[in-house]
């Protein structure tokens, strides 16, 4: 991952600050940075969202395509993730440089989002064993300043909220086979229920405390962190230890507790924001990158 | 001999008040822990406390470290440096090859500006050298032969015969009596055991 060099003195400064619940940018340990969310930014997609979290900037586009259900789950559709660590974010990602991180991120995202608990995958099925919707979730990293997972998960949730899948009617074809017919009417579409879609909260252990939404500098001070994905009800759907260090069992329990609290609190304002934005409908001035 | 004590990594051996940590151990919160699976040794070395160390069957494989004397084989030369493969650290053979570089400046201690690589080494020579640096991001281990005891110990002439050193800078082929230039090492008796 794009890392910054932090010298010992800086580390000590940051660690002392964290001990006193005061971070370099003035936040408390459980505060997020300023966040901006906008949906429906790319018209070629079925759903898209852009999230800015501090200097971290991600764009998510979702495209729905018809595919064949996986043999293990014949009556469900599925999601495919692709994270493009573009050279925009840092020159290190040029060429194939970002591929490793990209596949690592997409693997975790798959674990977090592609299950029945987060999304009603059955609703994506068109005809069992034959056809289903495949949602291609493409994440584009435009700029990274730490805490990629949180920003991406919020963007994915927003983009899923924004996603509209055309209605499909199955008609009996002439030779007996089923034929699919897509509805042309842009308003005749299916929305996804995103209520249960979790958000990821990454906690970084710094000194004896832990912080949420760490910047790259803060991340450099931490040896280990915990990634917790939390639903709006406060249930935990996925936990991963990240980083090269180890954690004491007690601090793991503390961290999951914080993660749950912070994550749960994240959902309500996010949904409100998304609904508000949608209510504005066409009148909303699309800002995109021009803002 | 009484059965020696065995340990696995992470085992608490004793407190720092009882022993001084040696190889294969580490310190944590005032206690000495084992870092290897092996035999536990305590040895008194004249200090107040015995040194405690953990040893696997032979000496644990060490990496070429700064100051270590290494045996290496020359693989290629050019006017600025010679490239070598490190084969031994001290008397421990390495399982995998490590690459090193002997720069022109590090061949001799005196008359550094007159050194010419091709008059010092040839590919295939076995050389004793000392590690001076682990090198930076791009380079390999940096080695030196700027001591009397360091330099070429085994070399073959163009006729393919092992040559005999005749001076500090020349070796002679016993078959053709042709002389070739080398940075010859004065081999210390302790290295001659093998």
């Amino acid at each position: 991952m794009a890392a910054v060099q932090v010298c010992e003195a800086e580390k000590v400064y940051i660690m002392h600050g964290v001990r006193d619940d005061l971070r370099v940018d003035g936040r408390g340990c459980e505060d997020y940075r300023h966040m901006e969310i906008e949906t429906d930014v790319v018209s070629n997609t079925d759903g898209s969202a852009r999230v800015k979290l501090g200097y971290t900037d991600v764009l998510v586009g979702i495209k729905a395509e018809i595919g064949k259900p996986k043999p293990a789950a014949p009556d469900e559709g599925y999601l495919e993730f692709f994270v493009d660590c573009s050279a925009n974010a840092t020159p290190e990602f040029e060429g194939r440089g970002g591929e490793e991180l990209g596949s690592e991120l997409s693997c975790t995202l798959y674990k977090v989002f592609n299950n029945v608990n987060s999304l009603e995958l059955r609703a994506l099925c068109i005809a069992p064993r034959e056809h289903c919707w495949v949602l291609y979730v493409d994440v584009l990293l435009l700029q990274c300043d730490g805490n990629l997972f949180d920003a991406i998960s919020i963007a994915i949730k927003a983009a899923l909220f924004n996603t509209r899948i055309p209605k499909v009617t199955i008609t009996e074809g002439e030779e007996g086979g089923a034929e699919l017919e897509l509805s042309d009417d842009p308003y005749d579409c299916v929305r996804l229920n995103v209520e249960n879609v979790p958000c990821i909260v990454t906690l970084c252990k710094i000194g004896h405390r832990h912080v949420v939404d760490a910047t790259l500098q803060e991340k450099a001070c931490s040896v280990a962190g915990l990634l917790v994905s939390v639903t709006h009800k406060g249930t935990i759907t996925c936990v991963r230890k990240v980083g090269g260090g180890s954690l004491e069992p007690e601090s793991i329990f503390e961290m999951t507790e914080t993660g749950k609290r912070v994550g749960k609190a994240l959902h309500a304002p996010l949904m409100k924001l998304l609904r508000d934005e949608e209510a504005q409908g066409k009148q909303r001035q699309k800002v995109g990158f021009l803002g | 001999m009484s059965p020696r004590k065995l340990c696995v990594p992470g085992e608490k051996l004793c407190s720092t008040e009882d022993c001084i940590p040696g190889t294969g151990t580490y310190l944590r919160h005032g206690y000495i822990f084992a870092a290897l699976a092996g035999y536990v040794f305590r040895k008194n070395e004249g200090e107040e406390l015995p040194v405690i160390s953990v040893v696997k069957e032979t000496e644990a494989q060490l990496l070429p470290d700064v100051g270590a004397i290494v045996t290496c084989k020359v693989t290629s030369i050019n006017p600025r440096f010679a490239k070598v493969h490190i084969l031994y650290v001290g008397s421990t053979p390495l399982k995998d090859r490590f690459r090193g570089t002997i720069r022109k400046e590090d061949v001799r201690a005196t008359e550094k500006d007159k050194v010419e690589i091709y008059k010092s080494f040839r590919p295939g020579d076995i050389v004793l050298a000392k590690v001076i640096s682990l090198g930076d991001v791009q380079s390999n281990y940096l080695l030196t032969t700027a001591e009397n005891e360091l330099g070429v110990v085994v070399a073959h002439s163009e006729a393919g015969v092992q040559m005999i050193p005749i001076s500090w800078c020349e070796m002679q082929c016993p078959r053709t009596h042709g002389k070739e230039f080398r940075k010859v090492a004065r081999v210390q008796p302790e290295f001659l055991q093998a």
Partner: protein
């Protein structure tokens, strides 16, 4: 799909005969009170483990572990010259992990080309092992850990962690502690420790979860944690504790296997 030109090719498509089985009523594990292999639910009841060190003659260190039908082999090479050189590698060593499932290790034949799941498991293995290894003792060098799953009957990652740390210790790599792995299946309200593959995949989706913990037993530090599935925070904490208990049960077995391996080698001369 690109054609694999570096292997003997078979037919374009083939199906596992298991797909053609007349669909038998899926036995719900939840319906039973015990477990199929006679272990109890909710107890720290791990499968009997058979562990050996030093099987691969060509490797610096190696280990084989068998827990129930799950069989893994691991070999360790190095420390050797680092291939990739960058700033971070100069001061401390690099640990590389490769984990593969043999094509015949699962009920359905796997492909040779590692899937993203294999890579994910390998990444999990790396994260769990790294805190246990004293990498700063190996500057500019890399240590390679290769794990091959010969048969996967559940808890592959957990046993891979244990097996790899045994192989590292066998290779004489300096470590802070051995790393032990244990996983758990959450089935409704009860725990299934060290689940079999059947237990891992069976059951109603929604009420399931799985947790894998890697523990440094004598330092009491958790070096790896992966949890999936809906669960409450206290359930998670309980599950982690159960896994840790499972690890501690494993510890004496691993210890004995390591000591045996040390003993087998010629004892060092007094120096």
């Amino acid at each position: 799909m690109p054609v694999d030109t570096k292997r003997v090719r078979g037919p374009e498509e083939s199906q596992s005969p298991l797909l053609f089985l007349p669909s038998i009523a899926k036995k719900s594990v939840a319906a039973e009170r015990g477990r199929q292999d006679g272990r109890r639910r909710g107890q720290a009841d791990v499968r009997p483990v058979f562990a050996r060190c030093g099987l691969v003659s060509q490797a610096k260190g190696s280990a084989y572990i068998e827990a129930g039908n799950t069989k893994l082999i691991c070999s360790v090479f190095g420390p050797r010259e680092a291939e990739r050189k960058d700033e971070a590698g100069a001061s401390s060593g690099r640990l590389l992990c490769d984990l593969r499932f043999a094509p015949f290790s699962c009920p359905n034949r796997g492909a040779w080309i590692p899937s993203s799941e294999d890579k994910d498991t390998a990444q999990g293995l790396l994260e769990a092992l790294r805190p246990g290894v004293r990498l700063h003792r190996y500057p500019r060098a890399q240590i390679e850990v290769n794990v091959l799953v010969l048969e996967n009957d559940g808890s592959a990652l957990a046993h891979a962690i244990t097996c790899a740390s045994m192989a590292l210790a066998d290779a004489g790599i300096e470590m802070y502690d051995v790393v032990l792995g244990c996983s758990l299946r959450l089935d409704g309200n009860s725990f299934l420790l060290d689940p079999t593959l059947q237990e891992e995949t069976a059951g109603e989706p929604g009420a399931q979860g799985s947790v894998t913990v890697a523990l440094l037993p004598s330092l009491n530090q958790v070096s790896g944690l992966q949890a999936d599935g809906d669960m409450r925070e206290d359930t998670l904490a309980e599950a982690v504790r159960a896994c840790m208990e499972g690890c501690h049960k494993l510890y004496p077995v691993i210890q004995r296997a390591l000591l045996r391996a040390v003993h087998k080698r010629a004892s060092p001369s007094e120096s």
